[in-house]
Structures are given as structure tokens and as C-alpha cells.
Amino acid sequence: MIKLWFKSGAPWIWLNAAAVSTCMIMVIGVLGLITVRGVGHFWPSQVTQYTYQEEDNTSKIIIGEQVEKSVTPAQMAKATGHKMADNEDTLVQYLIKTGNRDLTGTDFIWIEERNVKAVSEPIDMMVVERREWGNFYGRLVEVKEDGKSIAIENEAWPVLQEKITKTLLLFKEIAHLEKKEIAGVNYGLERLRLKERKLELENHLDAAAKQQIAVEKSAYDVAYKQYQSQLANLYQNIRRDSLLAKTESGDTLEIPLFKIVRAFQPNAMSLLDKIVHYGVKVVEFLSDDPREANTEGGIFPAIFGTVMMVMMMSVIVTPFGVIAAVYLREYAKQGFTTRLIRIAVNNLAGVPSVVYGVFGLGFFVYILGGNIDQLFFPESAPAPVYGTPGLLWASITLALLTLPVVIVSTEEGLARIPSSIREGSLALGATKLETLWLTVLPMASPAMMTGLILAVARAAGEVAPLMLVGVVKLAPTLPLDGNFPFLHLDRKFMHLGFHIYDVGFQSPNVEAARPLVYATALLLVLVIIGLNLAAIVIRNNLREKYRALEG
């Protein structure tokens, strides 16, 4: 019977079917994993207070969020050095995020369930998100102004919220002054220095030029002094307030308010509060700068950098890709050359991306960039301008990398256009170019769009070449800002994919950064899947359309 069954081939068909199922489970599993972990990050979890008995019978209080639970069988736990009683089957451990890194030196601790004597979720537990040292967990004692207490106990909380809002406004003002105005002045001064140096190199630095430079310089100096005094004033204001909080061990800690991003009491929050909190955190994540070595705060510069790079790349790759596809489909005689080109296209698609990075670094950055510097920016030597990795070179490198995607997709689109349309156009007296430009290319534009979208999706996820040609873990300035010439192609930039690699693997506090990495990964996956789905939808529509045309 079984022999017969095997002979029918049915089991093999089932096994093949199982392979497809496994692939699908893997795809959905990975997407689900990223989604679950990425989405959960911003939800305010309860803060629990554990009364914990240490091995030596001393008792202590631990406050924090439970992050993970692990269950180990007794035998294994014994092997790793835990003492186990005979009646215990498993060792249950919790990973607690306790924060307060400035006091204890760690963010997380493992505790054993059997030693937990009491668990409670006191309503007045406060979580403070700080600009340094990570979260603080504890109870609010009082709010101070100029070192004097202005509110204690129950009154303190509303006062604190009010004060924090004020402080955040001041903080914003300071950030604006420092990052926009003063940075603008510095940028102007640097340009002035380069101008002076250039004149000097060209032997045009005469008295008049010097005079003019001095005038401009003094204008900048005046502006700078003014901003400086404004800044001093603001700093004085912002440093005034602080809060006093009690930690788990009963110690008190004073936290200046300007180091606080927000303070909240998760145990006291209603569901609506939590949803609002979640929304605020998501917005912060998308629109803020990173804090604490990229492990906290937002990823705006990375999003911005990715978008800028991808846009630059699109501008470069589209014409080249389309021209190559048009050549293959419309101009070339099918034969040896087109075969060669197709092999070249396939190889371009198959060459490892890191090789593009190496090529980009050597050829674009050092050879092209180095020569551009020598020719056009002799004044800034020895500091390189284009002779160092940056946005422009990253875009060009990725344009080269994604070229095959655009070529293949456009060519496919061109192939679908019935030749009757071309012949009709030619028969009516149009030249080949006119036929192309006025009929064929507009009809193929959805295909080009598909190719471009796929190229963008590929570029947005590519990291290895970017590591060599322009991505950095923390860029001080965005490649686009208010200083002339606004778009700074020579600047280095941040990138979502590299951000994931860097925060997940290079960060000093990987455990604390992990939720943020999942959130970043989720964002990247959403963008890329969105782009790919868009490409698929456009392609399907296109097919439908030409099917109608052919029929």
C-alpha cells in the first residue's frame, strides 16, 4: 500500500507543497516578528515594584519594567550554577529594566521569580525620560525653582508637568539658536575664510578685498555676540528648575528639568492616555534627532538622509536606465551586441553590492572627488570637499547599483507595447525619435515608474556600499539646510539601514537600544514593502492595459 502510495508520487508533491508553505511561514513570521517588536516599543508599560530577597536573605526593593521572562529547566539551571531545590522543576527569571544608570551603572537586571516576595504597581511610580543616563524610575518628591522647593507631595505632579512644558519650549529655542542661527554664522565665517584663502591663492588678496572681508567678518561677529548673549540668558532660565525624586533604595536624586524629555506615571494612565502617549512617542521617533548615542529619541536625520540619497539616485539612474533600455529594445539589432549588453546588465545586477562600494570609494571618491578638489576647491586643502565620502558619491554609486533594475523593468515595458503603435506613428511620418518621445515612452512610463520604484526600494535597503561611500553613524548637519547653497552634496549623511546596523551592533548599550532597532527596522520594512507593492500594482495595471490594447 505504502509502496503504491510512493509510486503515485503523491508524497513528493506534498513535500514540495511543504517547501512553499515553509517559505510562506518564514516570510510572514519575519514580518510578524518585526511588526510585533517594532510596534510594542512605544507603548508605556506598567512599572512594577518588587520586594526582592537576595541570596543572603537581605531584602530590597526593585522598581522597573518587566522586559523578558525566561524559563529554564532545573537540570540546566543547575549546570549554569544556580542553586535549585529538589521540588523545583524550572527556574523562572525576569529581565527588569530598572533604569537609573547614573546610580547603579546598569539599565537591566535579571531577577528570579522564587525570590520575589511581593509585587505591586504603585500608582505614583514615575518614569522620567532623560537626555542622558537613560530612564529614571522612582517617586516624585518635590519640584524646585532656584533650589527652593515650590511644590511637594501631591501638588508636585501638575507643577512638574507645567514646568517641563515650559522648559521644553526654552530648550527648543536654545536648539534653534544653536543649530540654526549660530551654525549659520559659523558657516558664513568658514565660507569667508575659504574666500580669503582662495583670493590669496590666486594672488588677488589686495587691500580692498581684505577690507571687505573684514567688514563681513565683523558683521558676523556682531551677530554672534548677540546670539551668544541671548543664549546665555536662555541657559540661565532653563537651568533654574529641577525635581527631586526618590529611588527604589530610598535615596533622593535631583534632576535638572532641562535634562528631561518627559515625565509620566504609567500606572496612573488610562487607556486613552496611553494611546496619546503612544502617538506622541511615534511622532517623536519620526521627527526628532537621536539622543544618547542613537539609542533613544528619533531617527529623523536617518529618514531624511535616506530620502535625500534615494532622490538624488533616482535623478541619476532614470535617464541612464531608460536610455539603455531604449537602445536594447528600439535601436539595437538583436544579436551579439545586445547579448553582450544583456550579460553586462545581468552582471551589474549580480556584482556584490560591497564591490560597488569599493569601486565607488576608489573611483568616485578618491579619483573623481580628489581631482574635483584640486581643480575647484584648492582653498580648502588639506581638508577634502568632494575627495571624501559624501551624499553625491553615495547616490552615484547606488545609481550604478540599481541601473539594471531600471533597465530590465523599462525594457519589459517597451516590449509590451505592440509594434503596431510604432509602425502607425512611423507611417504617419514621424521620425524614430518622435515616435519614441511622443508615443512609445509615454506609454512605457508606468514601466519606468515600476523600475524606478524597485530601484528606490533596493537603494533604501542597501547598506554595505554606503558604509564605504558616505554614511556615518551621526551626521552633525543635514545635507539640506538654510545655508547657501542649501543642498550640500559633499556632506555625509545618516541612513536607516546603516542606523540599524550601527545601533544594533556597534552601540555601547545594545540591550537598551534593541527596541529602537526593531522600530527602525519596521519603518524600513514598511517603506520597502510599500514601494514594492506599489511597483507590483503599477505593473499589473500596465499588463491589463496592454492586454486590452492587443485585443
Binding site: 508533491i13 517559505c23 560591497v354 511620418g429 508615443t439 554595505a464 558604509m467
Partner: protein
């Protein structure tokens, strides 16, 4: 771009075509566009060729041989002031120095021989110079003169660089680091026939030979807490060794090993870590009988001795850890430099290269690690008195017996690499045996760079192998099912979903593999193996049971939906496998499977290992293989399969005998392209392995691939350095790998397309 636009546009161009000038302008545009498009199309070939040739262009200098050019020849400056003991060139290659046996130092221009400064060493009345040597390390710039009355004078030659009027000016000067008064080495006042010194920051060691004894004098500066000037403590010892024949004395710069060599080839190695009781570690003859040692030098870092003999052979001897844990001197390699005795060996100061000069004056520059002969220049046959190589190893001066100094410019940028040192085993200094090692840089300047690409290629292939092991069955079987058995309705969703998997950024897969999968596999290792057995088994069982289900149930789910039904089966059995994992491990393996492997087979377990990489990279490669293979199977002409079925074959028989055979070239090219992708994948291996360049086949060990290596080291390598070029070579190797795979795959696919269209 609606359909209606098309005729409108065409008709307007028809009207335009009647104008004369305009007509020509249109034709001109058309022709220009044609050329533009042709250039653009051929640009693709140009791009791929540019990448290839640029990589080649960067790599090429690694393998060209070095050149030496005799630029000038001039008379020995101040010949009357004595015979040359040593020549020396400073860092900038401007000033050279000649030390004579009469205690004179003549500084002269390297390029022209013009005397810049001459100065006499302060030697007390009545004593004579009997021995001379250069202090170790060479960068200290010290020489020592042994005198006939048991005293010694140490002199440092230094170069002060100033920039008057923005022009570099180098002023040589002599200083006496241990004071101008000669140091009493031998209390008895015996002549110091041979002498050697090592100067350290806090301690200095002198070794001298009198008639038949070897003395060690060690000076140690006792640092006091408050002042820089400490007091010197001196320890003296006499080595119990018959010194009569000793001709060369060398002390390494750590002042721990003393090498005594006699002319007839006897090497004695003393451990002088304890300066009061030096002990003999080893004594052996290191050249063939009948020959004599003619010159000896340390290779930079003082870990190896270069011994030149009268037969023109230079051999490298290094302390090698032996079987019994002790160190012994062993010959690592030898260079046949000449047929004449080697009269001088000058080690490069910053690389493991050295220059030799034979009795005829023939000049040779060699590199020890790569075993390359970089330069060989014939001499004039008149014999050689002294020779030296500049600190940057780009200038050499040689004084010949006819009292001429020839000034050579040496262009020797990348001696460290040869095809042999990249691909074959190399015996590195202090290693017990020749080995494949990649270790490109270290904080220490004495470091011997180890550029063996073999472990990286090995790692690349290992990672690709495990990835293919995961990807190939899943992708190919999945492709067969999706293309041939699955209902079109389901295929419509399944194919794009799996292709979407290929669009997932590899950085995310790598991140998940490194931070989520690796700890998971570590914890549930037995579960993973159980899963590999349990899932296929339960699928088989389920399918067997399926045929016994009542017909009504079976008919409610038509053919082609098998994979949908199987999803819960697979999830359930996988869950079961994970659940039994920990109990299974504690039951069968008494603890963890990892420990069991360790104790039973000695297989170590890295958390980030080839298994993790295989799964993660397999995941990344599946869509590539799946998509191409599915296309190949799907586009097998229908009349073939229908014919086969009509002849009575089962659908599985049709599959294996007809469809697979026809589509096999396509499937092969799918595998090729998948392999190309696995070989070049960077981020997954970077994040999911420990990046240790080891050559270990074990699935539980880490690895380092070419691509990850480039990503890790490229940002730190100096432009145009050997390291930079070797990384380019790695990129070129990767390029070649994938070029071959992809070209092969593409050619096969083109053939296949022709075949299908003819069927």
C-alpha cells in the same frame, strides 16, 4: 498617455514634416538621439568594464616588481678620516652619515656627497677604538664604540628639523646619552673586542666580548616618584661560554634574548631576562659545514635573525614554539642571494624586508613574508665596504671598495604581497608552523601583516555552502510546486510574496539573525535538529493520512491547495520540536547539546556561527532562486506536459521526466545566480557571524567572508597602502566569482529561451 493621444501626436508631426529647415532639424535631432541612445546602451558594457578594469588598476601595483635606479655616484666624503664602519641615512633622505674607525662622523648630502658636518667622537687620550656597533633598536639612532681600555662610548646621532623661511633645514648633531665620559664596561681594562647595546627608555643592556669572555652590563633607571632623573643601578654578569670565536653579538630590543654567533656557524641563544643569571637556551650550528657566517642582522621587531653566509645564502631564523612548549630557533626560510659571500644585510625599519650586498657589490632587496626578490642589481665587482637603506626604504647608498658611494633610488611600494603569500601557507614569525592567516593590521608597528586571502575565501564558500544547503531544497521544491501544481489563484499571491522576501533589506535579516536567531538557536539547538526531522516526517504522515480522509472532506479542498493545508501542520510540528528541545537536551545530553558536542567531540560552539548564517542567508537567497526557477518551470511549453499526461504518465512522472528535464538549464542558472548572491552578501554575514577569519569546517564556528572583510576593514585602510590594494584584490576576487556565475547563468538562460521558442 491615453490611447487617444497617440494619433493626435502623430498627425501633428505629419504636418510638421512639410517644412524644409524644420525637416532637417527634425532629422538632425533624430540622428543625434540615435547616437545618444547607442552610446547610452553601450555605456552599460562600459560600466561593467570600468569596474573590472578599475579594480585591476588598483590591484596591479601589488604584483609589479620593484625598481632601483642608480642616480648618482660620488667620491667618499673625507676619505682621509678613516675607513667606513657604518653608513646611515635620515628619515627625509637628505643627510647621510659615515662613521669611521678613527672615531669621526661625517654628515654629507645623500644626493651629492657634499660634506655638511664632521665631528669627532670624544675619546680619551691613550685609548683606541677596537669595536663598533649600531645600537638597537635602530630607530634610537645610537652607536657604540668599544675601546681598548675596557671602556665604551655611546653616541646618538640626531637630526634637528627647522623651517627657516619655510624651507626645511636638517641639522645633524651628536649627543652623548650616558654622558660624555666613557662608560667603564670592563673593570679589568681588557679591550672590548666586540660590543653590542640595546637602549631602552628605562633600561639599557651592554654585551661585550673581551679576549674569551662575554660580559653583560645592565643599567636600569630607578624612577623616583618626584623626579624624572632617577638613579642608575648597574648589574654585571659574565656569561659562561667560550667566547673565542664569537663574531656577532645581538640583543633584541626587549633585552630578553642574546644571540651570539661565531664565524663557523655556531649560534648560542641566551635568555637574559634575568640579567644576573643569563641562561643558555639553545646552541646549534646554523649553516652548512664549510661555510662561514659573513653577516647577521635582525629583521625589524627583533624576532628573527637574518644570517648571511659565504655561499650567498641568507636564512631567516626565528624563535618557534616547539612541541614541548619551549621555544627553539628554527630556520623559517632561506633566500639564495648570490654565489658570493653576503657581506651586508640591512633590514628595513618598518617592513619585513631587507637589503643584501654581496662581495661583488651586487645589491638585492628581498621581503621575508612574501619571499619575493624585489630587486637584483649587479655590482661592479670591486667589492663593498658598507651599505645602508633609508628608514623609508626608498633610498640606498653603497660604498664600494674603490671608494665611491653610489646613490640608489628604490621604488618598492608593495613587497609584502605575492601570489604565494596570498594563497598559500606562509610561515610567519613566532608561529609554530606555516599557516593561512588573515591579520591585516595591529597597533604595533613591529607587526608582520598577514594577508592570506585563503581563510576569507574559505569563509565565503563555507557561508555560501550552508546558505545553499538551506535555500536550494526550499526554493527549488517550492518553485516546482508553485509553477506546476499550485492553483493559479493561490500562485497569484504566493509568487509575489516570496519575491517580496527578496526585497527585504539584508541589514534587517542580518540584525534578526545576529540578535534574535543566534540566541534562539543557542537555546534550542536540539529543537532545531528535531525540527529538521519532525517537519518532513509529519508532512509525510499527514499526507499519508490525507488519502484515508472521507471523500467529502477531500473534495471540499481541490488539488493545488496542499501547501495551504500544510501550514498548520508545519507550524504545529515546529512548535512541538521547539517545545521538546530543552527536555530533550537535558534528557539525552545531560545538560545542553552544545556542551555535549564540546565534551564528546571537542566541537566548540560560537553563538554567531555558520548555522545562523546559513539560515539567514538561505532566507535571503531563496527568493532569487525561487523566482528564476519558477519562471523556468512555468514556461515549459504546455504541449509537452499535456502530451506526457495523455500518454498515461502521472503528474509526478511528468514533472520529473519531462518538465524538470526541459527546465533544468533554467534551474541550473537559478542556482548559479543564487550562489552568486550568497557569495557576495555582506550585511548578513557581517552581523550574524563573529567575523573571525578561521578555517574550520564546523557548522558551529564563525567565519569571515571576503565581502564582510571589505566592509570591516576598508574604511580604516590608508589609500594606496598595501592593505588597501589587498582589499581591492578581495573585491576583484568577489567580482570574478560572481562574474563567472552570472555570465554562465545568463548564457544558459539565453540558450534556454531560444530552445523554448523553437519548441
Amino acid at each position: 498617455m491615453s490611447k487617444i493621444n497617440v494619433p493626435t501626436n502623430s498627425s501633428s508631426s505629419l504636418q510638421l514634416s512639410t517644412g524644409g529647415v524644420h525637416e532637417r532639424w527634425r532629422l538632425f535631432k533624430d540622428a543625434t538621439a540615435r547616437y545618444g541612445v547607442v552610446i547610452g546602451g553601450l555605456g552599460v558594457i562600459f560600466a561593467i568594464a570600468l569596474i573590472f578594469f578599475y579594480l585591476l588598476y588598483v590591484v596591479y601595483p601589488l604584483f609589479i616588481s620593484a625598481t632601483a635606479q642608480s642616480v648618482n655616484q660620488y667620491d667618499v666624503p673625507e676619505l682621509a678620516l678613516g675607513k667606513t664602519l657604518m653608513l646611515e641615512i635620515e628619515e627625509q633622505n637628505e643627510v647621510a652619515a659615515r662613521f669611521t674607525d678613527s672615531g669621526e662622523v661625517i654628515f654629507f648630502s645623500v644626493a651629492t656627497g657634499k660634506v655638511i658636518l664632521k665631528e669627532s667622537i670624544k675619546i680619551p687620550e691613550g685609548s683606541k677604538i677596537v669595536s663598533f656597533s649600531q645600537g638597537s633598536p635602530v630607530s634610537e639612532g645610537a652607536v657604540i664604540y668599544g675601546l681598548s681600555d675596557g671602556k665604551a662610548v655611546i653616541v646618538k646621532y640626531q637630526y634637528k628639523i627647522t623651517y627657516p623661511n619655510n624651507i626645511r633645514l636638517i641639522t645633524p648633531l651628536l649627543t652623548y646619552p650616558m654622558g660624555e665620559a666613557p662608560l667603564v664596561i670592563n673593570e679589568a681594562g681588557d679591550a672590548l673586542e666586540k660590543i653590542a647595546v640595546t637602549l631602552g627608555n628605562d633600561a639599557s643592556t651592554f654585551v661585550s666580548k673581551t679576549a674569551n669572555k662575554i660580559h653583560i652590563s645592565h643599567f636600569e633607571k630607578e624612577k623616583t616618584l618626584f623626579s624624572e632623573e632617577g638613579t642608575m643601578t648597574r648589574t654585571d654578569a659574565v656569561i659562561d661560554y667560550s667566547a673565542a670565536d664569537v663574531n656577532h653579538i645581538l640583543i633584541d630590543k626587549k633585552e630578553k634574548n642574546l644571540y651570539l654567533l661565531s664565524t663557523n656557524g655556531q649560534l648560542a641563544l641566551f635568555n637574559i631576562s634575568n640579567k644576573t643569571t643569563p641562561s643558555l637556551t639553545q646552541e646549534q650550528t646554523i649553516i652548512q659545514s664549510g661555510q662561514t657566517i659573513t653577516s647577521v642582522s635582525f629583521l625589524t621587531a627583533d624576532l628573527s635573525l637574518l644570517v648571511g653566509d659565504s655561499s650567498g645564502l641568507v636564512s631567516q631564523w626565528s624563535k618557534v614554539r616547539g612541541k614541548t612548549n619551549g621555544f627553539t630557533m628554527q630556520k623559517i626560510r632561506a633566500f639564495k642571494v648570490s654565489n658570493k659571500p653576503v657581506v651586508s644585510i640591512n633590514a628595513e625599519q618598518r617592513r619585513k624586508g631587507f637589503m643584501t650586498v654581496d662581495a661583488d657589490g651586487a645589491l638585492g632587496i628581498y621581503h621575508s613574508t612574501s619571499e619575493r626578490e624585489m630587486i637584483k642589481e649587479q655590482g661592479d665587482g670591486s667589492g663593498v665596504i658598507a651599505a645602508t637603506l633609508s628608514p623609508r626604504a626608498d633610498v640606498a647608498i653603497v660604498q664600494s671598495a674603490n671608494n665611491k658611494i653610489s646613490y640608489w633610488q628604490v621604488d618598492n611600494e608593495h613587497p609584502e604581497v605575492s601570489l604565494r603569500s596570498i594563497w598559500q601557507e606562509v610561515w610567519y614569525e613566532s608561529y609554530p608552523k606555516p599557516d593561512y592567516i588573515w591579520q591585516s593590521s595591529s597597533a604595533n608597528s613591529d607587526f608582520e601583516p598577514k594577508y592570506s586571502l585563503t581563510p576569507l575565501v574559505f569563509g565565503t564558500l563555507k557561508a555560501a555552502f550552508y546558505a545553499m544547503l538551506v535555500a536550494m531544497p526550499l526554493a527549488l521544491m517550492g518553485a516546482i510546486y508553485t509553477a506546476y501544481f499550485m492553483t493559479p489563484k493561490m500562485r497569484q499571491y504566493v509568487k509575489p510574496s516570496i519575491e517580496l522576501m527578496g526585497a527585504l533589506p539584508t541589514v534587517i535579516l542580518g540584525f534578526l539573525a545576529g540578535l534574535w536567531l543566534a540566541p534562539l538557536i543557542e537555546e534550542y539547538l536540539a529543537g532545531l535538529f528535531a525540527l529538521l526531522m519532525l517537519v518532513p516526517l509529519s508532512v509525510m504522515l499527514f499526507s499519508y493520512a490525507w488519502q484515508y480522509l472521507p471523500a467529502s472532506v477531500k473534495q471540499s479542498i481541490p488539488d493545488g491547495w496542499e501547501s495551504a493545508i500544510l501550514i498548520p501542520v508545519i507550524i504545529l510540528s515546529a512548535w512541538l520540536a521547539i517545545k521538546v528541545s530543552i527536555p530533550l537536551e537535558s534528557l539525552l545530553f545531560h545538560g545542553t547539546l552544545r556542551d555535549w558536542f564540546k565534551t564528546e567531540f571537542g566541537i566548540g560552539y560560537d553563538q554567531r556561527n555558520a548555522l545562523v548564517v546559513g539560515i539567514a542567508m538561505g532566507f535571503a537567497v531563496i527568493p532569487t532562486i525561487f523566482s528564476i526557477a519558477e519562471d523556468a518551470v512555468f514556461s515549459v511549453p504546455k504541449h509537452l506536459t499535456v502530451g506526457s499526461l495523455a500518454l498515461g504518465a502521472t503528474s509526478w512522472q511528468t514533472m520529473t521526466k519531462v518538465v524538470l528535464l526541459t527546465a533544468s538549464p533554467g534551474i541550473f542558472s537559478a542556482v548559479m545566480i543564487g550562489l552568486g548572491r550568497a557569495v557576495g552578501e555582506t550585511m548578513i554575514v557581517l552581523m550574524a557571524t563573529g567575523n573571525t577569519p578561521v578555517m574550520d569546517l564546523s557548522v558551529f564556528q564563525g567565519l569571515r567572508t571576503l565581502a564582510a572583510n571589505i566592509a570591516v576593514e576598508m574604511p580604516e585602510s590608508a589609500v594606496d597602502s598595501t592593505h588597501y590594494r589587498v582589499l581591492f584584490l578581495a573585491a576583484l576576487v568577489l567580482f570574478m566569482f560572481t562574474f563567472i556565475f552570472n555570465t554562465l547563468a545568463e548564457i544558459i538562460r539565453q540558450r534556454l529561451r531560444e530552445k523554448y521558442s523553437s519548441l
